[in-house]
Symmetry: C2
């Protein structure tokens, strides 16, 4: 398989499903237009669609049909997008650009951006609780919602952001750094892999292996993000390079140095691949995705 073709193909599927599943096709009051436009703006402002593609690839890895995982994949991207909108707010990271484009609050104002985020988060749970394309057991569907809600919530992604904010400007140790990263980024990436596995009908052993895979690539992902922030150009990131260091944020390179940080990312990807040792050829995309996460830094 060619990874670029795979990514392009799956991105296309996810973005088509996003367009299909967004509200606003019916007759609605015009005062809602701008709100729905703000949701769509951030959802379609680019992005690699890493979480939805991991969900599809995980479903595929256990022999499931990719199309069955599309609503969950879209829900994951809604949650990721809402987190970016809220993180970019003046009260949070105060970023004016994201992927080279104005952030939500620059175009829709702070109130508009807060509500666009709230709307996307809530939409995710509407999609996850709605009719899915396949005959998934309602109990399993509830399980997916619970996995994603935990990963996105106060002990997961939201909690990681809260920890990040109270730690700003303070010296923090390695354990805290890993805690923040694992909640802020790792949790939702793991949940993407886990929810794809449930939709694809994973056995308990497969689910457990894919959970490990998800945790390991989640960690690698965040380490590489830190590396990109130090090494990357503003063009690659779509925002000012080095901006985390400017704000005195705890990062892997700051704690370990560049060389050891690169090593840590590679070790984590190797562990992710180990977790797939007993999977058949349908896990090829998941394997390639693990390496892709590292290659982003080169």
């Amino acid at each position: 398989m060619d990874l670029q073709t795979y990514l392009q193909d799956k991105r296309g599927l996810v973005e088509q499903a996003m367009a299909d599943l967004m509200p606003g096709n019916g007759k609605l009051p015009p005062e809602l237009d701008r709100h729905l436009e703000a949701m769509r703006y951030s959802l379609f402002a680019g992005g690699k669609r890493v979480r939805p593609i991991l969900c599809l690839a995980s479903c595929e890895a256990v022999g499931g049909a990719i199309s069955h995982a599309l609503p969950a994949a879209v829900a994951l991207e809604c949650i990721h997008t809402y987190s970016l909108i809220h993180d970019d707010l003046p009260a949070m990271d105060d970023d004016e650009l994201r992927r080279g484009k104005p952030t939500s609050h620059m175009l829709y104002g702070e109130a508009g951006a807060i509500l666009a985020g709230d709307g996307l988060l809530t939409l995710a749970f509407e999609l996850l609780s709605g009719k899915l394309p396949a005959d998934i057991e309602p109990g399993a569907q509830l399980g997916i919602i619970n996995i994603i809600a935990r990963a996105a919530g106060s002990l997961g992604m939201v909690g990681g952001q809260a920890m990040d904010i109270v730690s700003e400007g303070k010296e923090i140790d390695v354990i805290t750094l890993r805690e923040i990263h694992s909640r802020k980024t790792g949790a939702l990436i793991s949940a993407a892999v886990q929810s794809g596995a449930v939709i694809g009908g994973a056995t308990p052993e497969q689910f457990s292996s894919l959970t490990t895979y998800g945790e390991k690539i989640g960690l690698a992902f965040q380490i590489v993000d830190d590396l990109l922030n130090v090494e990357g150009t503003a063009e690659q990131l779509g925002k000012a390079a080095g901006s985390d260091a400017d704000r005195n944020k705890a990062t892997y390179p700051a704690l370990y140095g560049l060389e050891r940080t690169r090593q840590l990312a590679e070790e984590s990807v190797a562990e992710a691949l180990d977790a797939l040792a007993h999977f058949d050829e349908y896990s090829a995309p998941l394997r390639r995705l693990a390496s892709y996460i590292i290659s982003r830094s080169k």
Copy 2:
């Protein structure tokens, strides 16, 4: 039945369940303390617990056990509380007081308040998708999540707030006013009644009647809120009276005058009671709650 005793009793049950279901009982990193404290602060800052009590009373009205509805009742209060935290933000209504106490952002900063709201919204869906106390069919549980997500989302509560904000300072007509109110307040109140009905095992006919009941008291509730805003003292509301008028917000009294507004609220409550015509004595609390909503204004 004595309504005050009923309300006090049910408030106690709901608040105990809230305390039990809030995260943070396990061993957690200290950097999360402030975030979890912010969530708890707003959740326990008082409030009449109207939505959770409606959920319990609706469950009871169709013969269900009140305890079965407690997690859903808590989830509804989490969603209501998150909406208040975000609505109070400087970028939105910019309120410094709520129920006589400092609003979330006054104590925890804007970032802390945004994240407390995000955390509460997500927690609601974690609770709704988790194990419920009764043997509710997983399919019915999914239905409840879907009802609440739609009511809370971009075509419901969040959409109503978005419409309210774009309409501020503009002349709006009666149809738009009703649209805003029905989304912003009515939708979640209806969802509270509907989810209690599903948990209690309502027949389709009962569900339909309770849906009407929910819509009518939702409307009455918002009309009375408008009245309180004009007539009320700062003490009653916990915020400056007349503050909506100051901001040139569309309200029922502004459009209809006080007398006709009071009439409209009473008509709406009467229609809510009509919808319960075929219910037995277990619907007594729901009936009394409808009148209670009106009596708040006196």
